[in-house]
């Protein structure tokens, strides 16, 4: 029985691109307990609904997080549209799916890179980020923004993608698929990665459900939980089934994200094939009055935007429950009983997005 010591992890730590603080209670090399503390990037942006017009607030909603940006704006707009009973044109719904899935691709590639970096696999980090630039280029060519798109608005989308451009995007993704497969092979079969991730940070199916885990964390523990299954937006017309892997360790979570890259490619392909012609937005008159919990699937899991208006241009309340917040209890559970050297890998395996979590 060793001596008990407490090691502070973060807020500034080489493996963390964002600040989160964990107090790790150690006994020798074993983590007995991890106590998270947040608040380093709490801005209080939910309060801004009282100062901004509900249409202008889309910009703020999009800046909750710079990685999940587009899907945040989709969730917010969808909530307002539901309250105001606006039906957006089909083309707009399909365009939202395309950009959402591009966001997922770029976010998963970003995460895969960071995950490799956390294990010291520098070359793989660079490979993932090189492939990610392809997604960002397509985003930039179609919306004007690399990470913050600003193309979603209440009532539809702000800009259209021409059918020629859609065809070339589709061709571009087909061309890059072999490279993605090659990279996926390294993540799923390389022995070094296997040794760092298999059996590490296990979260059982029951605990994942009890602790309210969402997204790849839940799906990596064998739970078929994906907000896209609710068929929001154009997802109801697309052939989609969630990637579910049992195992619950870091390897399973990594595998979910790797396989989701290909699901996203498939969904973009389907959306481009089925893309209807027509308008991309409808005029929005009046102000929202009512409430709605808008749920969508982000790269990190299910996000809930609670929106409540009283018929004025300012909303009464906007509350966001982001996937990282829901995954923190799961993370605490995974960390209990792990080795100190595995902490960075486990922390990254939930894909923490602190910007989202603290708002």
């Amino acid at each position: 029985m060793g001596r008990e010591i407490v090691i502070p992890f973060g807020p500034q730590h080489p493996v963390l691109p964002e600040p989160i603080h964990l107090d790790l209670v150690l006994e020798d090399e074993m983590v007995k307990e991890a106590i998270p503390s947040i608040g380093y990037i709490h801005r209080g942006l939910e309060k801004l609904v009282e100062k901004r017009d509900f249409k202008n607030y889309v910009y703020i909603a999009e800046r909750i997080c710079g990685i999940c940006s587009f899907i945040h704006s989709v969730s917010y707009c969808q909530g307002i549209e539901n309250i105001m009973e606006i039906t957006i044109p089909d083309r707009a719904a399909y365009l939202r799916v395309i950009w959402s899935e591009y966001s997922r691709l770029h976010s998963h590639l970003l995460w895969l890179g960071l995950f490799a970096d956390a294990m010291g696999f520098e070359n793989l980090f660079m490979t993932a980020w090189r492939l990610r630039e392809h997604m960002l280029n397509d985003m930039e060519e179609t919306t004007g923004g690399r990470v913050i798109q600003g193309s979603c608005k209440v009532g539809g989308v702000r800009c259209d993608i021409s059918n020629d451009k859609l065809a070339s995007m589709s061709a571009g993704l087909t061309a890059i698929e072999p490279e993605l497969s090659e990279m996926a092979g390294v993540f799923l079969e390389d022995e070094t990665i296997d040794m760092r991730t298999r059996g590490v940070g296990v979260l059982s199916k029951d605990s994942a459900w009890d602790l309210g885990a969402v997204g790849p964390v839940a799906r990596g523990s064998g739970i078929a939980l994906d907000a896209r299954m609710t068929g929001y937006g154009a997802y109801e017309h697309l052939d989609f089934s969630p990637v579910v892997i049992s195992g619950g360790d870091c390897y399973a979570r990594c595998r979910v994200r790797v396989e989701e890259l290909f699901t996203s490619l498939d969904l973009i392909g389907q959306a481009i094939t089925m893309m209807p012609d027509g308008d991309i937005e409808v005029p929005v008159r009046g102000n929202p009055s009512g409430e709605f919990f808008s749920r969508t699937e982000q790269p990190r899991g299910e996000v809930v935007h609670y929106i409540r208006g009283n018929g004025t241009k300012n909303l009464l309340r906007h509350r966001v429950r982001t996937p990282t917040t829901a995954n923190i209890p799961g993370l605490v559970q995974m960390l209990a009983g792990c080795e100190l050297a595995n902490v960075p890998v486990i922390v990254l395996s939930i894909d923490p997005c602190i910007g989202c979590a603290e708002r």
Partner: protein, 129 residues
């Protein structure tokens, strides 16, 4: 476009733990606990989901009410309850992991409570909330 059905049941604070226990026994997942201030009233929503069915339990309280913590049933609620305590100043008793107001440290204490900005006085009266 599919718009999912969402149900909200308003319950008194005394019945909160019983109702949450029913949800827990029925294997519902705790989606979130969210709070909002509407005029003098505080509303707390407990959202649950099972098989893509989304339902809410809602309690309406004033600031002095002490709310029983649901962390014994859903441990994950400690994140939300500490957050509500820090942002709204609502007291919860029996939280399994109580940060005592240090979860989210803000410049002003309880920034979400009674801080509706001045332009609000120009707003028309709220309807039906």
């Amino acid at each position: 476009m599919t718009i999912e059905k969402q149900t909200t049941v308003v319950i008194p604070v005394d019945l909160l733990l019983d109702e949450v226990k029913k949800m827990h026994d029925a294997k519902y997942r705790l989606v979130q606990v969210g709070c909002g201030q509407f005029k003098d009233q505080i509303e707390i929503n407990y959202s649950f989901e099972r098989d893509l069915v989304f339902s809410n339990l809602r309690i309406t309280i004033d600031k002095e009410t002490q709310v029983p913590s649901v962390t014994d049933l859903y441990h994950a609620a400690f994140v939300y309850e500490n957050e509500i305590h820090d942002l709204f100043g609502i007291g919860f008793f029996g939280i399994s992991l109580d940060y005592q107001g240090t979860f989210i440290r803000t410049k002003d204490k309880h920034p979400f409570y009674n801080t509706i900005n001045k332009e609000d006085s120009l707003r028309p009266e709220e309807e039906g909330s």
